[in-house]
Symmetry: C2
Subunit: 117 residues, 2 copies
């Protein structure tokens, strides 16, 4: 996984922090991969960054808060989230945030591709 | 590490995503621990969540954007960040965001302690 090539702010970040149970590792892994593919296909998806080291952190980036909210309502995602609450997660927090400033080693924000900068 | 017990929004999140070099592991670990202790002692510090799995993600939470900006200017932190740019990180991104909504399995936001809810 790499650092998401997000555009100049503002955009929306959804910070998902979780603690896993030890249940249904196979189903969890399969659903995670499926949800990642589905999210990428959503309107307004900008990128995602994720790591788990005991605590799991996934930050997904969206063009607008409405785009993030629409992804939350996708039927297959609703089902996966229910299974998350019931089986996969011992605890979690979701924080929806508006990114107002961004910078990296080379300047005020990360490029979104050719012509940006 | 646990999920940070942040108060009801709004508050500020600083999302730090990084890719490490393989250099100076010992110095990096020592500085990380020192910076975590220093950050906790700063005005407005609400909590931090962190995981590294190839990609490193650290999200620190602050009462206000000014509190987050003040931490950025602490002398020892400035020195650590310079060393990060020069030695520890192959790449990184910092995103400063305003959390507008937060929820967990039990409701609209996470409790900040007794009486909150």
């Amino acid at each position: 996984m790499t650092i998401a090539p997000t555009p100049e702010p503002p955009y929306t970040a959804v910070i998902f922090t979780s603690l896993r149970t030890s249940d249904d590792q196979e189903g969890y892994t399969r659903a995670s991969e499926r949800m990642a593919r589905l999210a990428e296909a959503q309107p307004g998806f900008l990128g995602v960054e994720s790591a788990r080291e005991g605590l799991g952190l996934t930050v997904s980036y969206w063009a607008t808060e409405a785009d993030a909210a629409a992804w939350k309502q996708v039927a297959e995602h609703l089902l996966a989230r229910r299974r998350g609450r019931e089986v996969w997660y011992a605890d979690y927090a979701v924080r929806v945030a508006t990114v107002t400033r961004a910078y990296g080693p080379d300047g005020p924000h990360r490029s979104s591709g050719p012509g940006a900068g």
